[in-house]
């Protein structure tokens, strides 16, 4: 790298990088800034105001949608993380027939376009098993698309995992359950946390599949925003979007901090085990 003939001169690359970051963040920043605009419409700046935020406090539909979103995201994340983690363990720790077929199935669920999964699920719920669409059908649908993300992320973590640690634990008299709880789980924790966070964020954001699986009263926040957009751009949507952005950033920070800490702890565990 110290070679003065480095492949592409970093000066142009750096300029390019600055421009791309500006491109990535400018629209988001514009949105946030204009959520504090006094004016009812348009992009004329008429003064700073938090009126659109205070107005949201009395917007029952938005508040209800917000509660629904959190409920769906929490339940779907929890269930998909638990069963997805079990699947990831199975796929990395045991050898059996059909394993690669299973990986293909997970890959298919990852590449299936949202709209296709959406119509398949709505057909299944409404005509296949004839259930009323509700918050529970939304949750079931979200679990379906979250599982694959959890499996992939946890699997990546477990693949880098040294199986000899478990053998060592067994040699030292640990039962399989003890080995699992005291060795495997702590080491896999950062991967599980990352998978859960990804599932949560994806669930929080989903529009298409939720549209097709939600019934009356089970509108989520993205659906509410999407519905409002049909009436055009409005500052209260800017304010609502800003709140969602801040919430997501907040979660990312917590998740990031946790996974950094957990991976340090994980490394500590490896040291302790190898030494002890």
């Amino acid at each position: 790298m110290s070679n003065k003939k480095s492949s592409l001169r970093p000066r142009y690359l750096k300029l390019h990088a600055v421009l791309v970051f500006a491109f990535l963040f400018a629209p988001i920043i514009v949105l946030v800034v204009f959520s504090f605009n006094q004016a009812k419409s348009g992009t004329d700046w008429t003064g700073f105001s938090t009126r659109w935020y205070t107005a949201l406090k009395n917007n029952d539909a938005a508040l209800q949608a917000f509660r629904n979103t959190l409920k769906v995201a929490f339940i779907a994340t929890f269930i998909s993380t638990v069963i997805g983690t079990l699947a990831a363990f199975a796929l990395t720790r045991f050898k059996f027939r059909g394993r690669s077929g299973y990986s293909t199935l997970i890959f298919i669920s990852l590449v299936m376009p949202e709209i296709v999964m959406a119509v398949a699920l709505t057909a299944f719920f409404r005509r296949g098993i004839h259930v009323e669409l509700s918050l529970w059908t939304v949750i079931a649908a979200h679990i379906t698309f979250c599982i694959a993300f959890v499996v992939v992320v946890v699997k990546a973590r477990l693949t880098a995992f040294d199986n000899r640690l478990i053998e060592a634990a067994a040699d030292l008299g640990a039962t399989p359950l003890q080995g699992f709880l005291r060795i495997v789980l702590p080491l896999a924790a950062p991967g599980i946390a990352a998978g859960a966070m990804l599932a949560f964020v994806i669930s929080l954001d989903d529009v298409v599949i939720t549209t097709f699986t939600s019934g009356p009263g089970s509108t989520t926040l993205p659906l509410y925003i999407f519905g409002q957009l049909r009436f055009g751009v409005s500052p209260s949507i800017n304010a609502l979007s800003t709140i969602v952005l801040v919430l997501a950033l907040f979660l990312l920070t917590i998740g990031g901090a946790y996974s950094v800490r957990a991976s340090r702890r994980g490394l500590g565990a490896i040291d302790a085990t190898t030494l002890g």
Binding site: S6, L13, L86, A87, R97, M112, P113, V119, D205, F212
Partner: protein, 306 residues
């Protein structure tokens, strides 16, 4: 995956006296399938059966009272003929060319960025990566809405252009440009992240060796760097192209009737159009198109590349 296969099985065969009898380890296939059971059941019930249902519906008739009349006795191919007739075929082509252009744009924008972060990012490398990941994890809907806010007729772009004397009454929304811009913006992080992973693993000495052997910059780029990072490039291309071709939100917010993509058309068939068999046939065609891409990918990179 590979590690698990190479590594010796977790149970060492010198089974010492310690494990109490009666607690026999399950064989691998039993333990594996037991752990997979919840996910398997879930996938069978909510992924495989619904998909089969859609394939079946695509061969059914349109109903008058119920959205679909279907019986195994009378399967018809007419929905596929309709899906590929001159009313709808252009929508498929449009979806594909939008996704192709957006993917190319993502490569052109994303490759230099990934290269710079990986090779010249220095100690702020992780910070730059986080800057790529933040948009990737913020709401896609809201990011598209932000562009709608900027591109609309009374939007920020027209205001700015008007202020600097370039005319403030341009039409940006409902154009090919707006939808492709949205797709590029939305999926750019999917390109940068796998490319970064590949470039970061590349040995910088390869580039220097190439120079020492008399290759120029262009030749080094195409004959050394790009072949070396090909797995990341292929992953990035698929990660952008696949969601872009079936996207619904972008054309819905930034496009109009003339820029409809296949995702919007399927949506309409299940809502206002109320033609489930046709919508199902389109879904099957879209899925089949994507699976072909996936299997080409799997055959080239192997299924460990998940």
């Amino acid at each position: 995956m590979s590690v698990a296969e190479v590594e010796s099985p977790p149970t060492p065969e010198p089974e010492t006296v310690e494990p109490p009898k009666g607690r026999r380890r399950l064989p691998d296939w039993a333990a594996g399938n037991l752990l997979l059971l919840p996910t398997s059941l879930w996938f069978v019930l909510l992924l495989i059966i619904p998909t089969i249902l859609i394939v079946g519906y695509s061969l059914g008739h349109r109903g008058v009272i119920v959205p679909i009349r279907f019986s195994w006795g009378s399967l018809v191919w007419s929905n596929y003929h309709t899906a590929l007739n001159p009313d709808f075929l252009p929508i498929f082509w449009r979806s594909i060319w939008y996704a192709v252009v957006a993917t190319i744009a993502c490569v052109l924008i994303g490759f230099p960025l990934a290269y710079w972060i990986a090779r010249f990012g220095g100690r702020f490398r992780n910070l730059y990566l986080v800057l790529v990941i933040i948009p990737f994890l913020t709401s896609y809907l809201i990011r598209m809405y932000a562009w709608q806010f900027i591109l609309q007729r009374e939007g920020l772009l027209n205001t700015v252009l008007g202020a600097i004397g370039l005319g403030g009454n341009h039409v940006f929304l409902n154009t090919n440009f707006a939808v492709i811009l949205g797709l590029t913006y939305g999926f750019l992080p999917f390109m940068v992240l796998p490319l970064y992973a590949s470039i970061e693993r590349m040995d910088p000495a390869l580039v220097e060796a190439s120079y020492d052997l008399g290759h120029g910059k262009v030749s080094t780029l195409f004959r050394v760097i790009i072949p070396t990072v090909a797995p990341g490039l292929i992953a990035g291309v698929l990660l952008v192209f696949i969601p872009a071709v079936g996207d619904f939100v972008t054309p819905e917010l930034l496009g109009g009737v003339r820029t409809q993509m296949i995702g919007n058309t399927i949506y309409d068939q299940f809502n206002s159009g109320n033609n489930w068999p046709l919508g199902s046939a389109m879904s099957v065609l879209l899925m089949a198109f994507i699976l072909v891409g996936v299997f080409i990918y799997l055959s080239r990179v192997g299924d460990d590349a998940l």
